[in-house]
Each structure stands twice: as C-alpha cells, then as structure tokens.
Symmetry: C2
Amino acid sequence: MLNKVDANRQTDSKEYKSEMKTLEKQMTALQESIQQLQIPTVIVFEGWGASGKGTQIARVVYPWDPRFFNVYTMDKVTEDMRMRPFLWPYWTRTPARGRISIYDKSWHRIMLPDRTGKWKTAVSGSPDLLYDINAFEKQLTDDGVLIVKLFLHISKDEQKNRLKELEKNSETAWRVDEKDWEQNKNYDQHLAHFSQMLQRTNTSESPWHIVESNDRKFAVIKIYKIIISSVQKAAEKLMQTNKLVHAEPPKYTGKKFLHSVYIKNENDNENAEKQKRKKSSSQGTITEKEYRDKLELYQKNISALGHRMYIKRRPVVIVYEGWDAAGKGGNIKRLTEELDPRCYEVIPIGPPSQTELSNHYLWRFYNKIPKDGHFAIFDRSWYGRILVERVEQLTPVPVWQRAYQEINEMEAHMYHHGAIIFKFWMHIDRDEQLRRFRAREADPLKQHKITEDDWRNRSKWDLYEEAADEMILKTNTPFAPWTIIESNNKKTARIKVLETVAATLDNALR
Amino acid sequence: MLNKVDANRQTDSKEYKSEMKTLEKQMTALQESIQQLQIPTVIVFEGWGASGKGTQIARVVYPWDPRFFNVYTMDKVTEDMRMRPFLWPYWTRTPARGRISIYDKSWHRIMLPDRTGKWKTAVSGSPDLLYDINAFEKQLTDDGVLIVKLFLHISKDEQKNRLKELEKNSETAWRVDEKDWEQNKNYDQHLAHFSQMLQRTNTSESPWHIVESNDRKFAVIKIYKIIISSVQKAAEKLMQTNKLVHAEPPKYTGKKFLHSVYIKNENDNENAEKQKRKKSSSQGTITEKEYRDKLELYQKNISALGHRMYIKRRPVVIVYEGWDAAGKGGNIKRLTEELDPRCYEVIPIGPPSQTELSNHYLWRFYNKIPKDGHFAIFDRSWYGRILVERVEQLTPVPVWQRAYQEINEMEAHMYHHGAIIFKFWMHIDRDEQLRRFRAREADPLKQHKITEDDWRNRSKWDLYEEAADEMILKTNTPFAPWTIIESNNKKTARIKVLETVAATLDNALR
C-alpha cells in the first residue's frame, strides 16, 4: 500500500496559516461534539521512525481540552503485557464515552515480524493475529467507538535527514537509537512489512489513512481533515443506529440442552417431588467415602497441575454460570481449596458500575484477564449479557444478539494466547431450587442469601432456560466448551467440576 | 528481634487435629464478621526463603470464601513499580471494606539492603523509608484497616533441609534458586538484617508477630490464633471509634492568607465594583503583547524542561484548587499546550464513585501517581477532603482533620521518590466570581458550566475561605508548597503559573 504513495506532497505555505486557523476552530468544535454525543474516540498513530508522530499528536490535541483525552505510548512491550493476550493493554485503555484515547503506535504492530516475537504464543503472520485484530476493531465500532487510523509516511532520504538532525541536537539525540538507523538502512524491507500490515488491517469500518509526511505542514492539515470528516461520519452513523435498537428478538428454535437434564414431573405435589428427587439423585449418587476420596484425589491432581501451568506459563479461565442457589459458591470453594492461593483469583461479577457502563461491555472483563500461569475464576461473567440482560430487557435486542459473536471472539483471543478455558453451567431443576430457597429462608444464617430478586428471577424460569439453551448452542466452541454440571446433588456436582478440570488440564499440559 | 527466638517450637500432635478443627470454624466465622463489620483486612507474610509462606497462606485462606480475598505475590519489582514510589503497588492493592488482601512479601522489604537498590531514589536505611512505611500503616489503621504482620522464622539447619527437599522433588525444584542458597550460607547476616527490619517497623498499631516455623503445625496454629485475636481487637476498636466521630471542629485562628489577596470593598454597588475591578487589575495588568511573548517563552521553556524531566526520570505532580470559575480549565490548557502529550495526563477529580468510597480516601489518587518522567495534572484533588467535604459536612470532623497530616505524608512519599510538586490556589474575589457566573449564564455556549451547586457553594464563601486558609497553613510544606495565583486577571494568572513551573523545574533539573 505504501510504495505507490509519494511522501513528498507539499502544502501551499501562503494559505497555511489561515487554513490552520479555520481547522483548529473546527477541531475545537469537534471535541465538544464528541463529548455531547458521547462518542468514544480512538486515534491511532503509526508510521516510520522520525516521521513526526509526537509532533503530530501534539498538533492534534492542541485545540482540545486536556481533561478529555489520554495519550498512550505503546512502544514498549512490558512483562505485564507479555504475560497477557496482546490486545489486553489496548482493551484496558479504550476510551469511555465522550473521551478520546490516542495511541502512539498500536496493536497493528504485532503484524510486523520483529514485534510478533515479543509474545511467546504469537506466530508472525498467523491468521489468529488478524482475526483478533479485526474482531477488536469491529467490536469497538459496533459499540459506537470511532477508530481513526493514521500512518505517517516519509521517504528514505527524509528519514535519514531527520535522524541526523535529531542526533545533532543534544536535547533530542537520546531519541535516536540503533533500531532507527537499522530501519533507514533496510528501508525497502520495512516498507514491504508496513505495506503488508496496512493492507491486512485495512477494514471498511476502520480504514487506514496514509499521511504523506515529508512536509509537516501538509501532514497536519491532512490529519485534521481526516479526523474532522471521520467524527462527522461517526455522528451521522450514531443517529442511524439510535433508530435501530428496538427490534423483536427472533424466536429460539435451536436445541434445548437443559430441558432434559432432569426428568420433569408434571404433578408437583409433595410425593411426586420426593420420588423425583430420588430419580434425579440416581443420576448422580455418591457415597460419603467415594466423595471424600475423589475430592482428595482431584484436588491433589489440580494442585500439582497448577505448578505445571505456572512452569509452562499457561493461564486458565474458569466461568461459572447457572441457576440461583445452584451451589456455585461451594463448588468454587472445593475447586480452590488445595490450590496455591498465590496462583488464582476468584472474581465475583455483579451489576456493572457507572464507570463500567460508560465503557465497552467487555472492558471490565479484559481488565481481569489472568496473567500466564494463573487461574481466573469468574463467579458469573460476561454471559450476563445474554442471560440477565436479555431476559430483563436491560439491553436492546440487536446488542445482546451481537454478543454471542463478541464473546466467542474474546474467548478465541484468550485461547490464541494460550489460555485454557472452562465454562460450567450449574444446573438444578425447578423443584430443587424451590427446596433450596425455602431452606435458606428457614435458616437465620442464610436468610441474607435469598432476596426478592431471587424469587422474581425464578418466576421467569422458562425465559432464562431459553436464554441459557441459546447461549450454550451459540458459544459452545471447541476452544471454550460448555460443561453442564448436574447440581441437584452438590457433591456429584463438585466432583464433576474437579474431574473435568483435572482431566482437561492434564491433557493440555503434557 | 529474631536471635532470641527459638524457631524450634513444637505442637502437641495428639491435640493438633481437634484444635485445628475448632480454629478453622472460628476462622470461617471470623471472615463473616470481617464482611459484616466491613473491616478491610491486610495480612502480611514475611520470612525466610522456604519458611513455608505459600503453605501457610493456603492454610489461612482454607476456611474462607475465595470470593472475598486476594493474594498478591510482591516478590518481583517490575519496571512499573520502579518508576513510582515504593508504596504504590501496595496502596493500589489495599482491600476495600469487607475484603481481605494478603501479601506474600511486603513493603517492609525495602528496609533490606539488597532490596532498596531496586528503587533509584531509595537509600538503604534512610529515615525517609521508615517515615513512609509508618505513615502508610498509620493511615490505613486510622481508616479502620486491620494490618496483621507475620514473620515466619526458621533455623539455619531447617532451611537447609527444606531447600534440599525442594530440590530433590522435580515438581518443586524450580522454586529454589541461588538467592535461597546464598541466604542460607549467610544466614547470620540476613538474620541481622531481618531483625533490624522488624525492629524498625514494629509499631504499636501494627506490631510484628514472629511465628516459629520449624514445625509447620505449630506455626499454623499460632497464625490462626494471631489472626483471630487481631480481628476481635479490630472489631472492638471499631465499636469505639464509631462513637467518636461527632465532634465540633475547633475554630480556626491561624493566618488568613486569602483575605488580603484582593482589596475588599464594603459597599458593593455597581460603581464600587467597577472601581474595585480597576484596582484589582492593577495588581496584575499585562499588555496583549507582553502576554503573548511571555506565554511563548515559558511554554517553550517548560516543553524543553519536559525532556530533561524525562531523561532524568523525575515525575511532576501539579495540583489545581481554587474558587469555581477561577479559570482552572483555561490555565491548565496553557500549561499543557506546548508539552509533548505523551508525557502528561490531566486528571479531573469529581465526587468519588462507590468503589472509591469503599476504599481509603487516598487510594484513588495513589492509582493516578505519575510514573517517572511524566506530569500528572490534577484538576481538583485530594484537597477536596479538607475543602468541600469539610464545608459540606460530608466527612466527620476528626476524619478531615486527620487529613492534613495524611496529605502531607502522601506528598512527602512522592517527594522522597523524586517528585516535583506544585500546588496552585486559583484565587478570585467574590465580585469577580459573581461577574463570571453572570457572564456564563448569559452565554448559551457556557450555560452548562454554571449550575445550582455553583450558587450554593458561593453562598458559603466565608466557610470555604476559612477552609482554604487553614489548608494553606497546614499543608504548605517545603517539598510541596502552595502558590496563590491571583486570577481576577486570567492572563496574569496563566503567566504566573507558567513562570512558577518553569523556574522551579529549571532549578530542580539542573
């Protein structure tokens, strides 16, 4: 994409001052629209060494109120970054609504051969990288984020001159290093790499803008114009999408996974319940001795596997979803009991805070991604989007429908980095839940665990079941499969989770 | 402190099982009290290599619900840590109310000669380190945080045996490194260093508990007992402090700094106002040309100094406080205009969120501490505690009164790390504020900047002025001085800020 671009375009220097004045005013007005329309805005600066990224970023923010933007220098790959998926530092720095994030160098760099190697799991040019990048950009733009991607292009000679200039001045000499000279020396090779990077990540939602930057004045005017027209387009798009959000959800006609987990009983009187409980427990009985033995065995296994995970630097993500009172807490407790507590974190997920609501839905989960060698155990999770948010109509239909793919993409991104992912649906039947609710109400120590919300959720059982069925159908991927945990019997449920984790980890860490 | 302790104490193994059972039950109950009483709890594990910190942490959390604690391994000093004050990673990991943070290795380590060197600014054994540590612990305990400090002590022989054991087993061999053997070889020297560390950081609020750990069973029982009695004491203390919070604030009789900044006019009619404005502007007049020239000069200076800051790895903290409509926004804009935007962040401070409220008051500011070479510019700040929170009675009297010292200590901690600190009080007089409020109301583009809150605050002018006077008196330290910026004239105000920053930075970065 670059070899046909002449970096040498010039501005008419007579007109420059007055044009700049007009553009600066437009930029100031623009920032106010960004705030008023609450458009989260991402501006990416990529380009050659010494192409003037710093100077141009300074020009871009010049007309803006410094309280509403953040500039991030993403050049250096720290150990914290290396121990997580490569999009993690970008996800955690995405702008909240009405704010602007500017990145000096960006996630696209991972497409460059000399950059890829900084992540142990990334293979240069691998389709995974591209898949992850495209998913990231699409997810942001779908959420209303504007992404402006700028590549600052200079010619070989211009770069050489600039590096010499910088070196001459004692105040700027420290900014030039060997890598800059290496880039200049092997300019053509780098040109090919940059071109490929641009080509592959040039999506229709967020295309690249190549900025001919030999002449700084030409460059700043072009950049201003690109940003101005991009924000205008985003504002128009926003008006359109605002009209779209009130659709009816299509009826789910897919497979029903949960319906047949326990045998249903039509006549629900006391006797029938007892009988049924007998039946369902026959689907999972265990003696106290068996339970103790297996618990000990698998807990020991998993504890040892934790060490292997740590040595092999593989992260593990475990998601717990399921009915209220299905026994998630006790199950998690048994899972972690013998683990080294320095290697895991249990993350309870409640309703989002104001800050979380003003960011992309997945932002708060990206902030909790485990580093290599560690477990992150989510007590409820991102699946809230397509469970409670769907059923309680907290989120417009097209938005939660989009989430199936978004979630698959997020999990794929973790998987590409080497994560081992478990998703447990803790299943009890309607009667068992009723019994547990009543038992909680009767126990003074457990009364606080049962609220009106629980009863309200229960009254929507069928809606939740449909949502869970569709969730399992659409997010049951080979790299992040669902396991349904029959939980009418708490002990067999615990053993099944432990068994699943032990077997899968053992297999993955050989 | 250690050389008189015999690490070799044994538990009666017959009684062990039943005693553990009782203690585990007490620990479970304890965690529920911590949640109910909302006591933030910090548990520190220090000790010899191979003294069993990992195992004992696992024992401690065993009876607890894993959703309410976090375990942090603080062994490694990352670059992110090195670029900030040494307490930063601990402050940002303090527990919210009702939660538990467990640190495997801790801030006390900086007292050890081999650890100090990881921070460029820290001098081994320097009184600054001790001052900072004691302030940290006192601030947390004053806020109701319980700190339990445990040192796991083993003898030289025991350590040797354990290291050999670990090395023998292929699954644990990776946990032993040269440093462990070095520690064992020079056991006596390390004993002296540990002893000194314990002695110096053994405060009455949070004393050290030495746990004789040759016998693991003895150790776990002792640790359980220490934690149980510490939480009980904290609960009692909480009951007492709850009684204390309703005191009358003592009358401020200190110096009045702000009263005489502008000449007051008793008869406030239109004419008098005009006259007065004339007078006050004579305290700060400037021609347009002078303004432009100085603006350009100082902005260039500061931009160049920004590079020096970066090279010398010094961080800069700038606080803006002052009256509503004093012109903070425009002033900040002029300060940052010519700075490299990759080197500063402007942080607007609003009312605290729910999350922020459930942590220590200073927690959110520690999260925003600039890294070396960077500016952090606070648009309002931690001084809200002794301004708005005092005047609006949002915070009990003894709590905001304590804040003067807490703030001085926080700023001292930044200073010890090498930070250059500016604090600007943007001062306008009552009449100028009225004029600006009215001008804003008349301007359709600025109407949103004036709210009922502003008028309400204005009606409490005298209370705010007293609060600001007392703030300046009590927090005007040599390392973090206040500068009063006469801001009736916005241009002279901007020049004064720029001049102050340029001169001070130039002086500090020579």
